[in-house]
Amino acid sequence: MEHYSMNLTLKVWKQKNATAEGNFETYQVKDISSEMSFLEMFDVLNEQLIHEGKDPIAFDHDCREGICGMCSMYINGRPHGPWHGTTTCQLHMRAFKDGDTIVVEPWRANAFPVVKDLVVDRSAFDRVIQSGGYISVNTGVSVDGNTIPIERENADKAFAAAACIGCGACVAACKNSSAMLFVSAKVSHLALLPQGDVERKNRVLNMVAQADKEGFGSCTFTEACEAVCPKEISITNISRLNSEYLKAGLSADKAH
């Protein structure tokens, strides 16, 4: 495809701190290359703002290669912008045309409060992981590969679920602000493998309880999460989470 440059109008959410009101600010950016990433476009804008003595736009980012899950932005009515299966940092400006107006908002959910501008506090996800998204094993010498046989189908499904980067786009897209795609990816990843079997009941019960406590909603299978997930996590994982939860909830013999 031809390279081209474009002038854009940006409407970006500006909010001084967690308690401030916040509002949209309009910015003009010029000569943006179609080969820039969306975050590089923000870098250009922020440099311009710093030169003008204005407050740059705060946004989260780390790896800029689609693996850390930090770059949360709701772009033109869609988490991570218009491209399917792509994080904001991997979104490129060729997704837009000269003269476009782009509206950028932070994730919206009570459980993800805005810290500043586009930065939200996603520590609720960390607490969900801390409640059970791990295996308590003695990490000694790593064992030989293939000492524990794992069914091919389950290995593939576990691997696909493990691709979740905890970005929170599923919550941002969901009308219920449900975190179930995230929780189910973490639960499925371990439930499908023999190593996760020992703690599987407590894991799913505790992780769902923590997600509920954080203020994430119930899943009603609207499928919005699956459509926006940059790692294309399958919504079938949520059915698996429900199945794990029902089995554990009905059979676990201990007060939680």
Binding site: S177, S218, A224
Partner: protein
């Protein structure tokens, strides 16, 4: 785990929706099958007899209590779920997602359910209340007395285009509620095998078209003079 924690968790609430929804689906099968007797072309004899059996026999009467309880549970938990879920995002987006990624009816279960509820109130006042409480004209088949529910249907629908339209709209709401609800109920219960998910999707769409269509054709049949 305590039962109270189990059923009030985010997954437990959906379990209640799913089981009560499936129970209501089972009721629809009975209801549509029984009502199809109006098309026996016998001036309602078969239908009135069938309805009499349901009214006179103790088993259906006990089931009726269960049916009211099932509806109440589904409606109360459904509305509570809808409002709780909505309250998890106090501040919304300036640019809405719209139908990017999620079809409108999957996101409108609360609205569709409320439309069904409004329909139900009208429907119960048309048939259940006169039949069980205020009394219906009797009709005599082979010298035996029956409630003339067939006559009641004729009275409600014939020459009453407004009511017929409201019934058809009620059926359309039910159809969309079921297009999402039928398959969602099975996913809520933990169905992960894609072979069965595809089967349930197909069955669900078929059910969502055929059953509401059959219901809608009942008032239309009276209005058009087909029965």
């Amino acid at each position: 785990m305590k039962w109270s924690d189990f059923f009030t968790s985010s997954v437990g609430k959906k379990l209640i929706m799913s089981l009560s929804g499936l129970f209501l689906i089972a009721f629809l099968v009975v209801h549509v099958g029984l009502n199809a007797c109006i098309w026996a072309m016998d001036d309602g004899v078969m239908f009135n007899k069938a309805a009499h059996f349901m009214g006179a026999n103790v088993v259906p009467r006990v089931l009726e209590i269960g049916l009211f309880a099932g509806f109440l549970l589904h409606i109360i938990q459904g509305l509570a779920l809808e409002f709780q879920n909505r309250s998890n995002r106090k501040k919304g987006y300036a640019v809405k997602m719209g139908s990017k990624g999620s079809a409108w009816y999957r996101k409108s279960m609360g609205l569709l359910g409320t439309l069904i509820l409004l329909f139900l109130i009208m429907h119960i006042s048309h048939f259940w209340v006169p039949s069980r409480i205020t009394g219906l004209e009797p009709t005599y088949i082979d010298g035996k007395e029956y409630h003339d529910l067939f006559g009641r249907m004729a009275a409600v629908f014939t020459d009453n285009i407004g009511i017929v339209i409201l019934y058809v709209l009620g059926c359309i709401s039910l159809a969309w509620h079921l297009v999402h609800g039928f398959q969602s109920a099975f996913r809520t219960l933990g169905l992960t095998n894609h072979k069965y998910i595809r089967l349930i999707n197909g069955l669900g769409i078929g059910f969502s078209i055929i059953v509401p269509l059959a219901f809608a054709l009942m008032p239309i049949s009276f209005y058009m003079g087909w029965v």
